[in-house]
């Protein structure tokens, strides 16, 4: 048998080669990681830019952090945050409830219901939200009274439009109807993403229709619905600022009122920004955990939560300390 060893291995002078090493020993060769000088340089440049920006935030008097501090937890701002949260909450709940109904109509077997659902989505996606809001705000101009009764027949109960639909009511109505159109499509997408075999299996088992939807399809659809729904909730949360056109005292309107009075535009915009960022962060965290819940069964081993990971990290440090401390002395 001939083994082609070209030359006796030279240990003093290494030669550059991509040829596999001669099979001398099992573990004689050390691995040197490749170097990336440009990657480091780009990183340093980015850090410098960020540092410059942060330095500016702290030192530029234009940011006026004193005014920011004075207003960020002021009563008027807190009240405005509360109204913003209410608008978001009602808009989300009503929007998604109506959206789910519209999605169900769209997925129903009836062509009439399908068409109506399609037309709803078409109409409310076509009209800009701000136009719609002003329109609802002026509804009493179109219908002075609203009533409940037999269609085209007698009315049993009626009321002044202005009484039931104040500014806040009009805003909630507008946001919810607008949101419903988008929510309907998101819910429908989620339902369509569920494997048809799931419904077939449920039908073959004789599971009642409503139960099929509620227990089998919807929980699986939620995986597809949630990321998009969270997007919508967050965008609605910030989008509530649009109702300032109706002079409702939500966060953005309130901030405008204050800087209109004091002239401190930038710090007050920062007040609004800080609240929007804080609450969006909370929503994002909630999204993470809700998605995790609906992912059960989807992955073989679900990854640990950031909190669990942090706890594991701390435990690891503690354990390594415990094991090294007595060992080091002995």
């Amino acid at each position: 048998m001939t083994v082609t060893t070209t030359e006796p291995t030279d240990t003093t002078e290494p030669t550059d080669t991509t040829a596999p090493p001669p099979a001398t020993g099992p573990a004689g060769l050390r691995v040197i990681p490749a170097r990336h000088p440009w990657r480091w340089l780009a990183g340093v440049a980015a850090v410098v830019l960020v540092a410059q920006f942060l330095h500016g935030l702290a030192t530029n008097p234009g940011w006026d952090w004193q005014t920011f501090n004075a207003f960020v937890t002021a009563d008027s701002i807190l009240r405005a945050v509360w109204i913003t949260l209410q608008l978001t909450c009602y808009g989300t709940v009503l929007g998604f409830a109506l959206g789910a109904v519209i999605a169900a109509l769209r997925l129903s077997a009836s062509p009439i219901l399908q068409t109506i659902a399609w037309a709803y989505v078409w109409a409310f996606r076509s009209i800009p939200l701000i136009v719609q809001l002003v329109f609802w705000f002026n509804l009493s101009y179109l219908y002075k009274r609203l009533g409940v009764g037999i269609p085209f027949g007698p009315t049993f109960w009626q009321f002044e439009t202005m009484d039931v639909l104040g500014a806040l009511g009009a805003a909630v109505l507008g946001l919810a109807l607008h949101q419903a159109a988008y929510a309907a499509e998101i819910v429908r997408a989620g339902v369509l993403s569920v494997d048809a075999g799931q419904l077939e299996a449920a039908a073959a088992l004789g599971i009642p229709r409503l139960r099929q939807a509620w227990r089998i399809v919807l929980p699986q659809a939620m995986r597809g619905i949630l990321p998009n729904a969270a997007n919508e909730v967050i965008s609605l949360f910030k989008g509530t600022s649009i109702v300032y056109v109706m002079a409702i005292g939500e966060l953005f309107y309130q901030v405008q009122v204050i800087y209109g009075r004091t002239g401190r535009v930038v710090p007050l915009l920062m007040v609004a920004t800080a609240w929007y960022v804080l609450l969006t962060t909370l929503l994002s965290i909630a999204q993470y955990y809700i998605e995790r819940y609906f992912a059960r069964g989807a992955e073989r081993t679900p990854p640990p939560t950031p909190l669990a990971r942090a706890r594991a990290f701390v435990r690891q440090i503690q354990e390594s300390r415990l094991s090294t401390a007595p060992g080091g002395r002995s």
Binding site: G197, A201, A203, A204, L205, G206, P208, F294, G297
Partner: protein, 254 residues
């Protein structure tokens, strides 16, 4: 002579212009095992799905234990039943899918108790006890709290069989139960089905496993082109087929 459990008469079914079933007749006695063989596209799966009304029929009828499936007869007319009634009828028919179709977001135990509780109104505790019994029977008692995706294909199919059994159906329908499995997992599933066959459950099995047909079937049915070409005991159909089409098919798969 035992009673006819499954009675399929003159069943026609088209998908658009494609006529998949062209007048199928099939009878199965209570407690018997019928294996349906045939090339792909011969209508075997469609027939099985027609039996539990996952497919509506264009003509003909299916009766289980003397009860029409999916229709109500009045004089010489068949009236389509409401979905609620069809769902109730389906609880008499267990269906095992090629792709298992377990509910991935529910644990194995939840998969098994769902239909008995929501469709039959069985009390939770009783449904649980029965489910655990069935899991034991298919050799998966220790997997009750696992999610289906953590199981192997063979285990998933055994869970699916247990899920079908949980309704205590009169008839079990198997649609190519081993076709989606790795070869080494086929045996464990066939063993469970064989075990059921000896316990007297009426079964109709669509499969490509000729060996299984020979060993377990009381009747082998050969379908091609949307009709039953021939049927009889396995020794007859598999070893002495009378029709050229049967012979051609068997020579390819054996």
């Amino acid at each position: 002579m035992t009673a006819t459990m499954v009675d399929v008469r003159g069943v026609h079914k088209s998908f658009g212009r494609l006529e998949v079933l062209r007048g199928v007749d099939l009878q199965a006695e209570a407690g018997s095992v019928t294996v349906i063989l045939g090339p792909s596209g011969s209508g075997k799966s469609t027939l099985l799905r027609a039996i539990n009304h996952l497919e509506k029929l264009d003509r003909g009828y299916v009766a289980i234990d003397g009860e029409l499936i999916g229709y109500r007869r009045s004089g010489d007319r068949l009236y389509e039943l409401k979905e609620r009634e069809v769902l109730r009828q389906r609880t008499h028919l267990g269906f095992v899918f090629q792709n298992f179709n377990l509910f991935p977001h529910l644990t194995v135990l939840e998969n098994l108790v769902e239909a008995p509780i929501s469709a039959l109104g069985v009390p939770k505790a009783a449904a649980r006890a029965r489910a655990l019994e069935l899991l034991d029977r298919v050799g998966l008692a220790d997997k009750a709290d696992a999610y289906p995706r953590r199981l192997s294909g063979g285990q998933q199919q055994r869970v699916a069989i247990a899920r079908a059994l949980a309704l205590e159906p009169k008839v079990l329908l198997f649609d190519e139960p081993t076709s989606a499995l790795d070869p080494e997992l086929v045996g464990e599933v066939l063993d469970v089905i064989k075990d059921l066959a000896t316990s007297g459950t009426t079964m109709i099995v669509v499969t490509h496993e000729i060996g299984f047909a020979r060993e377990v079937a009381d009747t082998v049915v050969f379908m091609d082109g949307g009709v039953v070409v021939e049927q009889g005991p396995p020794a007859e159909v598999l070893d002495h087929p009378r029709h050229e089409r049967t012979r051609a098919f068997l020579s390819k798969v054996l």
